[in-house]
């Protein structure tokens, strides 16, 4: 890649970044992953803190021997981890990927337009 062509590609990144479509993609992505991260971290640390500071509550037996509140809480961590994995993968495959692909196509279009403009000059 020549230096000139390189600068154009970098410019096209800037151009794409400033489009409302790209900003919508970023917003959509962050709007999903940030709250989800906050949720699972809060839920995990709630479990850790309860186990550490409320051992009597977590140690209560529920029904059969060995089945304690804490064990159910812990198994709940598995359930939420699996559930978040499924929810995120579905959401990303159906909602995020089309937007990302569209933005990628837009980048190619900007590059093509730049290249055509460079030829005219």
């Amino acid at each position: 890649m020549s230096n000139e062509a390189l600068e154009q590609t970098e410019d096209s990144y800037l151009t794409l970044q400033s489009t409302s479509e790209f900003q919508a993609l970023r917003k959509k992505f962050r709007g999903f992953v940030f709250p989800m991260t906050a949720f699972f971290l809060a839920w995990y640390f709630l479990y850790v803190l309860m186990s550490i500071f409320a051992p009597d509550f977590m140690g209560q037996q529920v029904g059969q021997p060995g089945i304690t509140v804490g064990l159910l809480f812990g198994l709940g961590q598995f359930v939420t981890t699996f559930a978040i994995t499924i929810i995120y993968a579905r959401w990303a495959n159906s909602q995020l990927d089309p937007l990302a692909e569209a933005a990628g196509a837009q980048l190619d279009a900007i590059n093509a337009a730049n290249a055509a403009g460079a030829k005219e000059n």
Partner: protein, 547 residues
């Protein structure tokens, strides 16, 4: 049920010859596969990342193979057998951590980098200083992890092969290291990945068999299993309540919070885990890799719960503690109790395979960092040929392998369990803040990265040195050796009360990254745009990186 088998006082269990035979057949079979899939000359891309040729599912299985190290396989089963609830609590951090990788790191890393973690971290910052800092941090984390694995090999040997002599143990460690180097040199990332895939399948299948056999003994009733575990444990019903390990006093409680933080934030900062995301072609496949990894790792830890309580019920804490490997021997002893020498042989073979596969993955990652980041980008300033770079990577693999062997021999009788926790703490402090800032924060810059990496690295290591894991823990019995790394009770220079530095060093590294960035004016808008567009769309990944 008391264990009346002769090995409680003997030095080994089962038939060493059978254990060796099963392990040897694993080595032969995987070696043939490695040679078949990957012989021949390699480009740098093939050597470091198998040129992104794996599918998401294959990579997900390989990630599980890489992640379920001997520490999680043997260590967690033992922790659950001895400490019940607290052992289970420990395993959950290792699983939940994968959500950080899934949501925030895997896809964006795949879209932005090509070879190493430093590719991403230095993308929009000043190349040389950031690459050097990242390389130092990668080498440190991987070294601790490597040492823990190799030292673990020594302990396993004495348990499983009945080898007690100093010299013989050293030879076995050297042998394991030598086989690993062979895999890496012949197979590169492709061969190593196949070893990890095979190992993961064997490990999960073996654990599933043990789980079914345990449940079968208790007519598939969990409450019978739990009841029997409690009856057999000195802790009784306390086995199912929090506190056996971490509940002693306020310090151990805060220490556990620190450890939890390091576990949950460290996984997505482990270099050998990040390296695996480059072995698939697209971010969609990277997503699929983590999905598979989460199912397999989560499923595995659920099985471990049964294995751990099964060991408590059928082997008993007394026999476990009396065995040479202590807690680590819970799973092998349970296998022997359930299936005699043959099942024990299979589980031992899998345990060795585990060490082999994990160490090989670490070696590839470390050699990539050395050859790509330090040799090519820093020493040669990008002016070198592919052949030259791969040659350096191969030499680095051999050197790292030898260091691992030497370290394993020196550390084999040390209390090294803390090394894995330390590797997670350093990864969470020195790597993760910079990874997240550079992917998500526009205002991040070189000063922020350097302060965060060096600050996180230094603080975590200094805190460890002055923590009770190195010196000053009280002895287990009056007049006995200290439980610290330095066993001499007269030497005590611990100043920091916690075993794990994460609680201090992780927030500090995030803070330093922020502070460094806001006090520096540097900002490369073009590079930021390029990185952000690439990270979210995946466009431009296959093109050469123009720095």
């Amino acid at each position: 049920m008391a264990l009346t088998l002769p090995f409680a006082e003997a030095t080994s269990v089962g038939s060493p010859a059978l254990n060796i035979a099963i392990f040897a057949s694993f080595v032969v079979i995987t070696l043939v596969i490695v040679i078949r899939v990957s012989a021949g000359k390699k480009t740098a891309e093939q050597y470091y990342t198998a040129a992104g040729a794996f599918t998401g599912r294959q990579n997900g299985v390989a990630i599980a193979g890489d992640y379920l190290s001997a520490a999680s396989f043997l260590g967690i089963a033992g922790a659950i057998a001895l400490q019940g609830y607290d052992g289970f609590l420990y395993s959950i951090g290792f699983l939940v951590a994968w959500l950080v990788a899934l949501l925030l790191v895997a896809e964006l890393m795949r879209n932005t980098g090509r070879f190493t973690m430093a590719d991403v971290l230095s993308y929009r910052l000043k190349q040389r200083p950031v690459r050097i800092a990242t390389a130092i941090s990668v080498l440190t984390v991987s070294f601790f992890y490597l040492l823990a694995q190799m030292a673990g090999a020594g302990g396993l040997v004495s348990l499983l092969l009945g080898i007690q002599g100093e010299m013989a143990q050293n030879l076995i460690i050297a042998l394991v290291g030598g086989i690993m180097i062979t895999y890496v040199l012949i197979g590169g990332m492709k061969g190593t990945t196949w070893v990890q895939i095979i190992k993961a399948l064997l490990l999960i299948a073996g654990t599933a068999v043990i789980t079914l056999m345990v449940l079968g003994k208790f007519s598939f009733s969990f409450s019978e299993l739990f009841q029997s575990a409690a009856d057999n444990s000195p802790a009784g019903d306390k086995l199912f309540e929090p506190g056996l390990k971490y509940g002693k006093n306020l310090t151990t409680k805060i220490d556990f919070i620190s450890l939890s933080m390091a576990l949950v934030l460290g996984t997505a900062g482990l270099p050998h885990v990040l390296q695996r995301f480059y072995t698939v072609p697209t971010s969609k496949q990277a997503r699929k890799s983590v999905e598979w990894a989460i199912w397999l790792i989560g499923g595995f830890y659920l099985l471990t719960l049964v294995v751990g309580y099964g060991a408590a019920a059928l082997v008993g804490p007394k026999a476990i503690l009396a065995a040479p490997g202590k807690a680590n021997s819970a799973a092998p002893l349970l296998a022997y109790e359930l299936g005699g020498s043959i099942l024990l042989g299979v589980i031992s073979g899998i345990a060795f395979a585990t060490i082999l596969a994990v160490v090989a993955g670490l070696t590839i990652t470390t050699s990539a960092t050395f050859a790509h980041d330090l040799y090519k980008e820093v020493f040669k300033r990008g002016q070198t040929t592919q052949d030259q770079e791969v040659k350096v990577a191969r030499i680095a693999s051999v050197v790292i392998g030898c260091i691992a062997i030497l370290g394993g021999i020196l550390a084999k009788n040390q209390n090294i369990a803390f090394l894995v926790a330390l590797a997670f703490a350093v990864a969470a402090s020195a790597n993760l803040p910079t990874i997240l800032y550079s992917l998500f924060w526009k205002g991040f810059n070189t000063r922020g990265a350097l302060w965060s990496i060096y600050g996180g690295l230094t603080s975590s290591i200094v805190l460890i040195i002055f923590s009770p894991v190195v010196s000053g823990k009280p002895p287990l019995v009056e007049g006995g050796p200290s439980q610290s790394m330095i066993t001499n009770t007269a030497i005590d220079f611990h100043l920091f009360p916690l075993d794990n530095p994460g609680l201090v060093s992780i927030p500090l590294a995030f803070f330093l990254g922020w502070l460094g960035s806001v006090t520096s004016k540097e900002h490369n808008a073009q590079k930021y745009a390029e990185m952000e567009v690439r990270s979210l769309t995946g466009h431009g990944v296959a093109e050469p990186v123009n720095h």
